[in-house]
């Protein structure tokens, strides 16, 4: 059916020409699909969990607040040694920075005012933070009232626990070792942040 063959050849040529923007080719053709996606940089940090069993001189811990049982020694009226440990579950899926900061630079009386003769109104402390296999120490020396901070550069993503150890030396005050503390409520806020380098 040679006539029939010829007819088909004409029809095919027309169909190929109509195909979506393509030219008929007699050689190999390729089409490529690229699948892409982007995962955001994310960090999360859970609420602090205080290990009361391992603490010294802690009255209570709830929510994000830790209350020291007795900041001053009954007899000497100076600072009483204090320790507590906190864990915060955390995760960053990119290389990041951990920042630990103290709002006031020490456990200061609220309000701080001026230290009157023979008394101290600020308590220095140190906060040691372990995260992602590295450690940094924030010294809140209560030398002056103001923010202090420390950063830890973490060059890989990490999932785990931020471990914080808060420590106050016996007799440590901003007016010298063993100086009695002025009565009042003392506080500071420590801030932990996971974010970009």
């Amino acid at each position: 059916m040679r006539g029939a063959n010829a007819r088909i050849a004409v029809l095919l040529a027309a169909a190929i020409a109509a195909a979506a923007g393509a030219r008929a080719q007699s050689g190999p053709q390729t089409g490529q699909i690229t699948v892409t996606g982007s995962v955001d940089r994310m960090c999360i940090m859970a609420n602090p969990q205080v290990n009361l069993g391992a603490s010294t001189n802690i009255g209570q811990a709830s929510g994000g607040t830790v209350t020291i049982a007795d900041l001053s020694d009954d007899q000497q009226m100076t600072t009483k040694s204090t320790d507590f440990y906190v864990t915060l579950s955390g995760m960053c899926n990119y290389s990041h920075l951990l920042t630990i900061s103290s709002d006031r630079g020490g456990l200061w009386r609220e309000p701080a005012g001026l230290a009157t003769g023979g008394f101290a109104n600020g308590v220095p402390y140190r906060a040691t933070v372990d995260w992602g296999g590295s450690e940094t120490v924030l010294l809140a020396s209560a030398a002056g009232e103001g923010q202090v901070q420390q950063t830890l550069s973490v060059d890989q993503p990490v999932v785990g626990g931020v471990l914080l150890h808060f420590h106050i030396d016996q007799s440590a005050t901003n007016a010298g070792s063993g100086v009695p503390l002025v009565a009042g409520n003392y506080d500071d806020t420590i801030r932990l942040t996971l974010g970009p380098q």
Binding site: D40, R41, M42, C43, I44, M45, A46, N47, P48, G64, T65, V66, T67, I68, A69, D70, L71, S72, D74, M77, T82, V86, L88, S89, G90, M91, C92, L107, R109, T116, G117, G118, F119, V123, Y125, L164, F166, P180, L181, V182, A183, G184, N185, Y186, D187, D188, T189, I190, R191, L192, T193, L194, G195, P196
Partner: protein
């Protein structure tokens, strides 16, 4: 997105990894630390300072101030007598501090004066504390000096007992008074 948010919160609770919000590039948690220093006061054992015709012996109650030459034995008139006693005091906050005299030296053996001889002699009580001095001359009934303050203080409370010469003459006997120092945290 409510459904998805609920599912994610439930999942994070199970995993023990709940943050205050869903993940963002930055995560932060505050930790507030606070501690209370109560008002405490401490009163240390007293020590004698200036001493004229007196001798002071501290004890667990405070001390015994002995007037060793209260009167001239010939005239029964008082001799100049003075004693300064220092008491170290510290209070970390507001306190009340009072010094009370029962009203002067009174004869324990005879209560009524007779024939021009007295059975009671007054003295001057002064207290120096926190840079200020208060004084009172006893007058027979209890009297109090109030040295209370609203702020922390540390230092020496200085109590001055003084009696001039020439008072009386006094009936023979033992003359006593009690000076009470009360210190309380407020």
């Amino acid at each position: 997105m409510t459904n998805r948010t609920d599912i994610l919160l439930a999942a994070c609770l199970l995993a023990g990894l709940c943050g205050p919000a869903l993940a963002a590039t930055v995560a932060a948690q505050p930790l507030q630390v606070n501690g209370d220093v109560p008002v405490r006061c401490k009163l240390s054992p007293p020590a004698a300072g200036t001493s004229v015709n007196t001798s002071f012996a501290p004890n667990s109650n405070g001390g015994d101030l002995t007037l060793t030459g209260l009167v001239d034995p010939d005239t029964a008139l008082t001799r100049a007598t003075e004693s300064v006693i220092q008491i170290p005091i510290i209070c970390s906050g507001a306190y009340s501090l009072t010094i009370t005299s029962q009203g002067g030296l009174s004869n324990q053996n005879a209560s009524a004066p007779s024939g021009g001889f007295a059975t009671h002699v007054n003295y001057l009580l002064s207290a120096n504390w926190a840079g200020a001095t208060q004084s009172v001359e006893t007058a027979g009934s209890a009297v109090t000096l109030d040295l209370s303050q609203s702020g922390s203080q540390a230092g020496n409370l200085s109590i001055d007992f003084s009696l001039p010469a020439g008072r009386g003459p006094l009936v023979a006997g033992t003359y006593t008074d009690e000076i009470t120092i009360q210190l309380n945290a407020q």
